[in-house]
Amino acid sequence: MPTILSVANLSKTYAPRPPRQAAFEALKNVNLDIQRGEIFALLGPNGAGKTTLISIVCGIVTASSGKVTVDGFDNVTQYREARSRIGLVPQELHTDAFESVWKTISFSRGLWGLPPNPAHIEKVMRDLSLWDKKDNRVMTLSGGMKRRLMIAKALAHEPNILFLDEPTAGVDVELRKDMWNLVRGLRASGVTIILTTHYIQEAEEMADRVGIITKGELILVEQKAALMEKLGSKQLALHLASKLDAIPASLSAYKLSLAAGGTDLVYEYDTKGERTGITALLQDVAAAGIRFKDVETKESSLEEIFVGLLREPRP
C-alpha cells in the first residue's frame, strides 16, 4: 500500500518555562510511515508523546526538527494541501458552548474551505446519532454526545486521514462500540485512521498495525498480528483430575507453574520456537502419573505484550 503520511526524524523539545518547568524533550527522532487506508494504533502511556506527534502533524505544535509529509505535501511549506486532507478529533472536549450543534459542525466544513453541503452534514450527524440534537446548544449535550460532535466536526470536511486522539476515553460501552463501527465504516470508505489509545483492547480490536511510543521514542511499529505472534507467548493449561501440591522433580526441565490452587498445571511455551515441547511434556506428565481431564491453550494479549515491552530496559 502506498504511504499517505510520512514522519521523518521528528523531534520536539518544549521550551523551558522558568521557574516551574524545565525544557522537555517530548519526541526523539521519530520515523513513521502510515499506509493509505489502514487503521494504525499508537499506543503509549501518559506523557509518551502521542498527542505531541499528532499535534505536529496537524499544525498545532511546531516541530523542533524533522519533516512531515501528508499525501506528498510538506505540512509546513504546503500546509494548505496537507491540512485539507486531515481531520482531527482531539482528546479534550473543546467545544463552543453557546452555538447550535448544526452551526458548529457547518463551521468546521467552512473553515476547511469547502462549500456548504447540508446533505453531507446531515449524513455525518445521522451516522453519529446527533441528528435529534441538531438545534440544541452545544452546552446542553452530554459528554458522550460532545465526543460525537467532535468527530462530526472532523468528518464535516471529508478528510482522507482521520486522527482520533483517545476517542473512547471516558465513554460508555455502547458509545465505544458505536465508535468502533464508525471507524470500520470510515476505513471501508477509504479513510486512513490513526488512533491513540490507552485501551489496548481497542487497538487489538481495531488496528491493522500498532506503534508503541514511550518517553518520546517510537520503540516498535509492527503489524498487529505479527506483533502478537512474534512477541506473544502461549500457555497450555492442563486441568488436573486431582490437586497437586508441588511440581514433580521429573518435570523440572519444563517451564511449569501451578495455578487454580494446584488443580491447573500451566506450561508456557514460545510460539516462535521450532519445537514447542508439548508432545514430550504430555508424555512426561503421563509417565509421572498425573492425570488430567481437560486441556486449554491461551495466547498472550496485546496488553501483556505492551506491558512487557514497556518494562524492558531501553539501551
Binding site: 494541501e81 491540512r83 467545544t95 467552512g110
Partner: protein, 257 residues
C-alpha cells in the same frame, strides 16, 4: 482546497463571530448606547448649556465625534480581543490552527467581524446623538474613512491583546489602563487648544488625539491637528498593528508551542 485564498474560511469565521454578536445583541448594543446617552444627558444637556461654543460649534454637538470615537475604540478592542481569546480559553483554537487557513484569513475573519460590529455601533451612537443634539456631517466620505480605519486599527489591537492575554484580567487591563485614559485625554470632551502648556504639546504624543481630531473635522470642519496628519497617523497605527499581527503568526507567539 488549494486556492490561493480560503474565502470560505474567512466567511465562516466572520459569520460565526457576527452570530455571536447577534446572540448577545442586547448586551452588545444596549450598554454602549445607554452609556453614550448618559454622556449626552450629563455633558450635553446639563453641563453643556453652560459651556462656550468651541470653534463655532455648540458643546453638545462638539462632543458627538469624540463620544463615537470613545465607544469605537473601546468596543473594537473588547470585541476583537474577546473574539480570539475565547477560542484560546475554551480550547477550540485547535481547529483554527489545524485548518488550511493562513493568518491573513484568520485576521480577516476575526478582525473584519469585530470592525464591522464597531462601525455598526458607531452609526447607532450617531443616530442616538441626533436625539439629543444637532449633528452635522460636512465630509461624509471622510467620516466613513476615519470610522472604518479606526475600527480596523483598534480591532487589530484588540486581536493582539486577545492573543497576548492569558487570563480574563489581562483582557481588560489594556482597555482600562491605556485605551480609556488615552481617549479621555485625547480630546473626546475638549479641544486640545483649551489645555495649558506643557500639556498641549504632551498631548500630541497621544495617538488618539489624531483619530479624534480627523474624525471631528469630518463632522464640523474644525480640527486640532491637520487632517493629513490625522490620516497619516491613523494609517501608521494600522500598519504597526498589522506588522505585529504578522509577527505573531510568523512566530506562533502564544498560539503554538
Amino acid at each position: 482546497m488549494t486556492a490561493a485564498m480560503n474565502v470560505q474560511a474567512v466567511k465562516s469565521i466572520y459569520r460565526f463571530e457576527m452570530s455571536r454578536w447577534f446572540r448577545t445583541v442586547g448586551q452588545s448594543v444596549l450598554s454602549p448606547v445607554i452609556s453614550t446617552s448618559l454622556y449626552f444627558i450629563v455633558f450635553g444637556a446639563a453641563i453643556g448649556s453652560l459651556m462656550q461654543d468651541i470653534g463655532g460649534v455648540a458643546y453638545g454637538s462638539f462632543l458627538v465625534p469624540g463620544l463615537v470615537m470613545l465607544m469605537l475604540l473601546t468596543q473594537s478592542v473588547s470585541n476583537a480581543s474577546f473574539g480570539i481569546y475565547f477560542p484560546k480559553f475554551t480550547g477550540t483554537i485547535y481547529e483554527i490552527l489545524s485548518a488550511p487557513v493562513s493568518f491573513v484569513e484568520i485576521v480577516l475573519g476575526y478582525v473584519g467581524a469585530a470592525a464591522t460590529k464597531s462601525v455598526l455601533l458607531g452609526f447607532i451612537i450617531m443616530a442616538t446623538a441626533t436625539l439629543f443634539v444637532p449633528v452635522e456631517i460636512q465630509h461624509p466620505l471622510w467620516m466613513l474613512t476615519f470610522l472604518v480605519l479606526t475600527a480596523l486599527t483598534f480591532s487589530l489591537l484588540g486581536f493582539i491583546i486577545g492573543i497576548w492575554a492569558d487570563g480574563f484580567e489581562k483582557l481588560s487591563l489594556v482597555p482600562t489602563l491605556i485605551i480609556t485614559p488615552l481617549t479621555f485625554l485625547g480630546g473626546s470632551f475638549y479641544s486640545i487648544e483649551m489645555l495649558p502648556e506643557p500639556w498641549q504639546t504632551l498631548t500630541l504624543f497621544n495617538p488618539v488625539v489624531y483619530l479624534i481630531s480627523g474624525f471631528r473635522w469630518s463632522f464640523y470642519g474644525i480640527s486640532d491637528v491637520g487632517v493629513g496628519v490625522s490620516l497619516g497617523m491613523t494609517l501608521f497605527f494600522l500598519g504597526l498593528c498589522l506588522a505585529v499581527v504578522a509577527r505573531i503568526f510568523a512566530t506562533g507567539y502564544r498560539l503554538k508551542s
